[in-house]
Every structure is written in C-alpha cells, then in structure tokens.
C-alpha cells in the first residue's frame, strides 16, 4: 500500500514536550478549530492541528523541519477557541524551546540555557569569569575618585571577554540556523516562487513594523510590548557599536556625556526595553480569558531581560548620584545580565529571531505567506 507509513514514536520527545509547557498536548482530539481561528495559518496545510497530532505521536523529525512552529506568533487565538483545553499555542511554544536546544551548538550550552533550573549556573559563569579576571589583574576593589566604570573594569578586559565569546556564539548560531534551514528545505522545499534574498529582505522589513502581530486577535496587546523590547534592543545595539567607535576612533573615554544625542538614544533604548518587558510580564499575568500558561523558559527570559534593563538603568543613575560603593557592584551585576543576553542568545528565547526569520522567509519563497 502506497500510503502506508511506519511511525516510530519518540517517547522521550513526547515527555519532553509535556515537561516544556506542552503538558496538555494529549488532550487534542483533532477537531481542527485551531487552524481556522488562527489569523496567520495558511490555506494549504494549516497549523497547528497537524503539529498537535505529530507531537502526540512523537514525530520529532517531522517537527524539527517544520516552518509552521516558528511562523506561529503565539497570538493564542487557537488556545482561546480550543474546545479541549489542549493549549496548542503553548504546545508550539514548548516545541520552539525544545528545538532551540536541539539545534544548539554546542549542545551542552543549549541544555544549560533552556533549562530554567540551571539559570543560576548560566549566570554564575560570567560572574566567576569577571571576578577571576578582576582578581588576577588586581582590580577587585572600588576605585577612588569620579565614577568611571573603566577604572574598575577596563574596557579592554570587557572587550577581551565579550568579543571572542559573542563571536563564537554568532558562529554557533549561524551553524544552528543553517542546520534548521537545510532540514526545512529538505523536507518542505518544493518549488520556490521567490528567491531567498528577496524573501529575506521582505521578512526583515516586515519585522520593522511587526505586521503579523497586528493580525492577532486574542492577544493583540503583545504587539506593543514586543515592539518596545525589539526597538529597545536595536537602540542599545547601535549605541554599543558606537561606543567602540567612540573609544577607539574618536579616542574619548566613556561615559558619554548626557548632552550627547547618542546618550539620548541609549537612555531611550533602556526605557523602551524596560517598559516593553514590563508590558510583556503584565500581559503574561493578566487574565485575558485565554487558556495559557507561561513556561519556566518564558519566565526565565522575561525576568532576565527585566533585570538587564533595571540594572542598566541603576548603573547609570547610581553613577550620576555618585554612590561609589553601590555603582561598581551594580555595574558588575549588569555586565552579568549583558553576558547572559548577548553571549547566550543562540540558546535563550532570543534565538527565536533567526528561526522565525527563516520560517517566514521560507513561507514567502513558497508563496504561503499571508499578506
């Protein structure tokens, strides 16, 4: 029989989905309400009904190649209308979390960062590195005089730690994304109506306005929160790059004075991030009549970003207030969260950015993308 198919369920995978926040996956009875109420699910092979049964059956390989689980923007209209409380939105979230780990290079980094119980370990790593470097170089004391963070932790040391590690993370991330892209194409690639470059550029332009989020109904507040976090990061990224230029090319010493427009951008970025992440957290805790639960992975990331923003702002405020004994330790703590955010990004929730960009690009290439 041509249609015959042998399933080899991956039991550990099913257990993993349930542990990662998809505990309700087995409640799904395949009514197919979800794909119809989903505002962005395509006409041909809509999601998430098929993902639900694939997860129930432990079809890990098929799901690893799915563009749909990343195309999903977690609007949660599916979970709102699900008649069985199977929470497809959360199941897809759990799959994304598992696949960030599955595709991670090296694997152990994915295992540490995607496991909320090991967050302490993940944070301890940079703190220990910082303390060792400061200790060896004799900087482990609070400097006298005007508060200049590089007097405590010289920029060169910061760069010596961060630049190679971020570089390695970037390479690891590209390897992970390539693996995903190759699997995706091998399983789903058919005839393309658009080339990669054009589709990718269109995807990035769409990110700037967060167009897909506007289609969400059950969870429409998420767009503002996500946009604020997104642009907060964009602003802070620009300022960080500028700082390198400022230090080396212009030969000036940070901090940048408050009167400098770059400082305005930095402060606006910090506030945007703080406000955005507070909205994310408020959205998650607010009862909206949708059956959803945030996973430990989601919460860990939200709290890390909140602490990143808060410690960043405090680092500046305490410096301006001139409290030396507080300012330097705060800076160290802030650097720890910066490390988590930018060195661990291929393994944390931030990693969704690349996978989602590729999934949307693939949708556009196959002509399935909804306008």
């Amino acid at each position: 029989m041509a249609d015959e198919m042998v399933l080899s369920p991956d039991i550990e995978f099913i257990k993993g989905v349930r542990a990662a926040g998809g505990d309700t996956v087995k409640r799904c009875y395949q009514c197919a309400t979800c794909g119809v109420v989903c505002p962005i699910s395509p006409e041909d092979k809509p999601f998430p009904r098929k993902e639900m049964i694939m997860a129930q059956l432990g079809m890990k390989d098929a799901l690893l190649a799915s563009p749909d689980i990343w195309y999903c923007h977690n609007c949660n209209d599916c979970s709102k209308y699900c008649p069985r409380g199977a929470r497809p939105g959360d199941v897809l979230g759990a799959l994304r979390q598992m696949f960030i780990k599955e595709y991670s290079v090296p694997k152990f980094m994915g295992s540490i960062v995607t496991n909320p119980a090991l967050t302490i370990v993940a944070l301890a790593i940079p703190l220990i590195i910082f303390l060792v470097v400061l200790g060896i170089t004799g900087h482990l004391h609070i400097p006298e005089g005007r508060i200049v963070y590089s007097h405590f932790f010289p920029i060169l040391y910061v760069e010596a730690i961060f630049i190679p590690l971020v570089g390695l993370a970037g390479i690891a991330y590209i390897v992970s994304l390539r693996r995903y892209w190759n699997t995706l194409k091998r399983v789903n690639g058919t005839e393309y109506r658009m080339n990669f470059g054009d589709a990718f550029v269109e995807t990035i332009l769409e990110f700037l306005g967060h167009g897909k989020f506007t289609k969400c109904e059950a969870n429409r507040d998420r767009r503002t929160a996500h946009l604020l976090v997104f642009y907060g990061f964009v602003a802070l990224f620009i300022v960080t790059c500028w700082l390198t230029f400022y230090d080396y090319v212009m030969g000036k010493e940070s901090p940048i004075p408050l009167s400098d427009p770059m400082k305005w951008l930095a402060n606006m970025g910090a506030l945007s991030l703080l406000l955005g992440i507070l909205l994310v957290i408020a959205n998650r805790t607010k009862a909206k009549g949708i059956n959803t639960k945030s996973s430990g992975f989601d919460w860990t990331f939200a709290i890390i970003i909140l602490l990143l923003a808060i410690t960043g702002i405090l680092t500046e405020v305490i410096r301006l207030a001139g409290i030396r004994t507080l300012a330097y330790p705060m800076y160290l703590v802030h650097l720890m969260f910066v490390f988590y955010t930018i060195v661990y990004f291929p393994y944390s929730k931030l990693a969704h950015m690349g996978y989602r960009a590729l999934a949307i690009t693939h949708y556009k290439m196959t002509g399935k993308d909804i306008k």
């Binding site: 309400t33 119809v36 109420v37 209308y81």
Partner: protein, 420 residues
C-alpha cells in the same frame, strides 16, 4: 377508593420522560401529580418534525400518552406550574407548587376568536422566534391541553380586554391570579429535561449575527407542517427555498468553553435533517461538517442510508469560522478539511448549527437537596423515593429517554406500592 398521599408520585416535567413516568406509575395503581412549566405538555418532543431513524412523526407517540392521561383519573396535571420548595422526608414529601395564571379557563374551545381580535403580537417561543403569535395564543396547533393562554408580559390587560368581549364561552378571566399549593407525595421524580444550548454564546459561529445561521431545533420547526413556514425549508433572510445547507456538528458541544460533553443525538439529528432537506427540496445538497460521527448500534444503518445519498457530503473538520456574504445573504463556512489538510471556505444558502442539550439544571438549580454532576445533570438522587429521569440525568435520544423513564417508573412503583 381514595389513594393516600404516601401513594402519590409527584412528577416534575411534562415532556416525554415525565409523561412516561406519570402514565406508567398511575396505570400500576398510584396517584400522580404532574407539574409542567410550559402551558402545554409534550416538552421538546412536541417541537420535533420527525424521529430518527424511522422518520415517523413524534406527535403520534405523544397523543397516545395524552390519551392515557385523559382516561386516567389518578393523574392530575398542572401546566404553567413549577416546584418552589421541597420539604419532608422519605414517604412524606411536601412539595410547594407555584402555578402562573393562564387567564383562560377550561371553557375554552380553541375557537380562535380571541386571537383574531387581539392587537398585541409577541415572538413565538415555540418556533424559536421565527414567527409571532398574538398576546392570547394557542401554544401550537396540536397543543395539549387544547386551550389558549395569555402572555401577561405583553397583554395590555383590562384596558384592552377585547378578547373577553368576543369570547362566547366566558373562557377568559383577566383577573386570574397566581396560585401556590402544596402536594404531599411519597415519591418525587425530576424529569426536567433540557434546553437547546444558547448558540449566541459561540461567537465564531455567527448565530444571531449571520441571518441564515439557524440551530437544529429551529430546523425542526422549519420542517414541521405546523411551523412558521408550514413545513417549507425557507431561509430566514429572504424566504428563499434553500438549496444548500451546511450542518455544523458539535456547535458548542464537547467544548470546555461551552458544553463539555457530547449530546449523543446531534449527529443523527443532522443526518435526519439532511433527509428533510433532500425530501422537501429535491435539487438541494447538504454538507455535514463533523469531528467524529456518532451513530451507535442500530443507528449505523441509518447513517449508511444517509451516506448513500450522493447529494449529502460528509467532511471531517470542525467549522470554526462563519461569515455572511452581505450581497446575497449566503453563508461562508470555513473549516480545515482534515483528510486533505487544506483550509476550505464554502458557500451555503443556510447553515444549521447542531447545538447540544443543556440540562435545565445546569444554570438554575432545583429546590431541595439534590446532587448534580459537573455538567449540571442530576445525579442519582440520594433521598429515598426521589428520582431523576430522562435527559435530566444525561443526554439521551427519545427512545432511550423513554426506556430510562420506564425503569424509573418501576422504582417509583416499588417505593409507593412495595414489592422491593
């Protein structure tokens, strides 16, 4: 020979289940008091056009029961009456019954003169608001008792009183008052039945917003010769004879946001209604969208008969979006066809939502110390001599409801007449 109160059964609900309990126990030698909240007996069955699987008219069975009631002096029935309170204990329950005024007494011959002169109209609840009656109205053509009733929420009362003038029989009494009385009974049976689930609560299926979306019970009334269209299947928006109908199964059923259970009858009801459509409008086509089809036991043969009709299509996939085409009034129905894995949007002239049976005790609880299961159905009641029967206990088709009620009648007889 007078029957002692301890040999009296009080039956709450005059639908097919309550009627069955009443006649079966009374014919075994008990006294029965039957209390019905509507102005007529027969309950939901009175609203049906045909039974499945034999497609015979339900009223025939009801009439046999009405005749058994009429012939049996041991049965007293009260319409427009509800139980207010229950006290006492096993063998001696004291039940307070409140009866709303009908304003029309037993002298009424149903001649209909009053209705002609009455200036006030009201939506006809028997036909789910698809037509109107006057403020003084006969509940339906074959109502038992065959007697008019006044809806006092709309009647202008004394200041109008035109009906009183034209009634040759002195049957109308606008001064009739609400009555409250006590019934002593050795056994109480709750046959409180069900209501169709309120389809306006299912916001994605368009009922109340899209004109040509109706419920399965409305479809029964459209098909019934004594219904709003005299048995023609015409759609609400423009009265057009319908040529294509989508049946949406599990509309608010097996759904934790609505009714968490399967109502057991809706699949067969939709298949049955597809045959109404095919019979009355021979050019028509029907499509049944389902999650799972439930046609157990002997009903499988009926399902096969319906499936054999090439103008009736079955699609696996629950309808989750319904929109109106404002130009034509047609209805656009979207579902994921599970077999092909494609989202399909199809156009129909009318949509029938297969809404489930909500036990009347789901939202409003009965007086007395009764137990309910999670969906509001009555559990087997603990007190001696107190029983629940029919759809009050679980979703049932008419046949099974009658079987359940006959079994409960035996329990009542055992309680009242001994023989345990």
């Amino acid at each position: 020979m007078a029957i002692a109160p301890e040999r009296t059964a009080l039956v709450v609900g005059g639908g097919i289940s309550g009627l069955t309990v009443a006649v079966e126990t009374a014919e075994a030698g008990t006294k029965v008091v039957l209390v019905e909240k509507n102005p007529y007996l027969g309950g939901r069955v009175a609203q049906l056009y045909r039974y499945f699987p034999k497609l015979c008219p339900p009223y025939c069975g009801l009439e046999i029961n009405f005749r058994r009631i009429r012939q049996n002096p041991a049965i007293t029935y009260y319409t427009m009456a509800e139980v207010q309170d229950i006290s006492g204990s096993a063998g001696d329950y004291r039940v307070t019954v409140r009866q709303r005024p009908r304003y029309v007494n037993e002298k009424c011959t149903a001649c209909g003169e009053c209705e002609k002169i009455c200036p006030v109209e009201r939506p006809n609840d028997f036909n789910f608001g698809m037509d109107t009656t006057k403020a003084i109205y006969l509940p339906h053509e074959m109502a038992f008792p065959m007697r008019y009733v006044i809806d006092d929420t709309v009647c202008k009362g004394r200041e109008c009183a035109k009906c009183v003038e034209v009634c040759k029989y002195g049957a109308i009494d606008l001064d009739m008052k609400e009555k409250t009385f006590e019934v002593q009974a050795g056994s109480v049976v709750f046959a409180t039945g069900w209501n169709p689930y309120d389809a306006t609560k299912i916001d994605n299926l368009g009922f109340g917003r899209v004109k040509n979306v109706i419920t399965n019970m409305m479809m029964e009334r459209l098909a019934a010769p004594n219904g709003p269209t005299k048995g023609r299947i015409l759609r609400p928006s423009d009265g057009k004879e319908v040529q294509s109908v989508a049946f949406v199964q599990c509309a608010g059923s097996r759904d934790e946001n609505h009714l968490d259970f399967c109502s057991a009858i809706c699949c067969l009801a939709s298949m049955k209604q597809a045959t109404y459509l095919r019979e009355k409008n021979p050019e028509s086509k029907a499509t049944i969208f389902y999650i799972d089809l439930r046609a157990p036991g002997k009903y499988e043969a009926f399902m096969q008969k319906v499936q054999a009709d090439e103008n009736i299509t079955f699609i696996k996939g629950k309808v989750a979006k319904i929109e109106e085409d404002p130009e034509t009034g047609d209805v656009l129905v979207t579902a994921e066809e599970v077999a092909s894995g494609k989202k399909i949007t199809e156009r129909f002239e009318m949509v029938v939502l297969a809404t489930g049976m909500e036990p009347t005790t789901r939202m409003v609880k009965l007086p007395g110390n009764l137990q309910y299961e999670q969906n509001g159905f009555l559990r087997a009641v603990q007190s001696e001599g107190v029983f629940a029967s029919g759809v009050a206990t679980r979703p049932l088709d008419v046949n099974s409801s009658v079987q359940d009620s006959t079994a409960k009648a035996i329990k009542v007889i055992q309680t009242l007449l001994g023989g345990k």
